[in-house]
Amino acid sequence: MKAVLYTGIFVAAILPGLSFGGARHFGFIYEAPTSAPGSFELENWVTWSRTTNPQHSDQVAFRHEIEIGITDRLQASIYLADWFYKNDPAKSGFTYSDSALELIYNLTNPVIDPIGLSLYQEYRGGNRFFEWESKLIAQKNLGPLILAYNATVEAVWEAKGLTDHEGEFQQAVGASYEISPRFSVGIELLHEFVFPKWQDEEKIRNVFIGPNVAVRHGNWFVTVTALAQATDTSEEADFQVRTIFGVGL
């Protein structure tokens, strides 16, 4: 009870100085600019995915994230909770997955410099689960057009004693065209290389592609991206839709 009270006092004390962290143009791709120092934003993610191979299942995953601008170039995010509801023939129900800390450091600007670059590092932990993820974020703004590229390396340790491990390399590329300052549309493509047990014997490659829409106004934004699997990998989602709703506190 005391913790709730102290949290309330802390939030009330800092609220007058808080502002918006920034709007996303993409659902699955990160952008190079970081949040303004002192900004504070709550983002809620909802990702629905449907898998039909080898059996039909639906999953709705949720993320609640607080994004904080620390300096002109450094931004931190806390994933308070990642959790999901899964509905498949074997088991249905809600599961808490993990919480995480994310840091993004901006190196160059996508308007002034030839290319905007940022470095991303994320640590994620849950019940018998730990993930380490590094990302290079590249972006170029050409007038109303935003071109973005992410190269991601991640390593996962899970199960009792964290003995199971898996790696993944992902490339993501996207374009977003700003029709007006409040509305943009675009396309995103993900190309995944999955390495079970950190080996490439199974040659698992996944490609997802689809459109996105982003709307922003005042201190909020909504971004929706729908992706379809262009490959035929079993146990991977055939279709997924992600909605991110952000609001400045």
């Binding site: 918006f20 600019p33 002109d72 002034i112 703004n141 007038g143």
Partner: protein, 104 residues
């Protein structure tokens, strides 16, 4: 058909690239009549802030899209969202108006 699409795409990209959305600060800008005291350092800061803070939410418009009279209100309306302090807001406005005056 493919060649035509690629050609049109290349033209669009080239036209976007040819427009300088954040022109570099010149000494001519500092001496332009802005109605307020500006110095080069303030204009440099305004350019940096314009390029960094505004793109957190949207792409940059060309500065001549809006009039010199409208720009202060436009920047004011988004200054809290962009965490701009009063001096930073003034620097951005000074830069934009200096660019407009230098171009005309």
């Amino acid at each position: 058909m493919k060649t035509s699409i690629l050609f049109v795409l290349a033209c669009v990209l080239a036209s976007c690239q040819l427009t300088n959305y954040v022109p570099p600060v010149t000494s001519q800008m500092a001496t332009a009549r802005t109605g307020q005291s500006v110095n080069l350092a303030m204009l440099h800061e305004g350019r940096t802030l314009f390029a960094h803070r505004c793109i957190e939410c949207h792409t940059l418009p060309v500065v001549w899209r809006y009039s010199s009279k409208d720009w202060p209100d436009i920047v004011d309306s988004m200054s809290q969202r962009a965490s701009l302090k009063p001096a930073e807001r003034e620097a951005i406005i000074a830069y934009i108006i200096a660019v407009r005056l230098a171009e005309h």
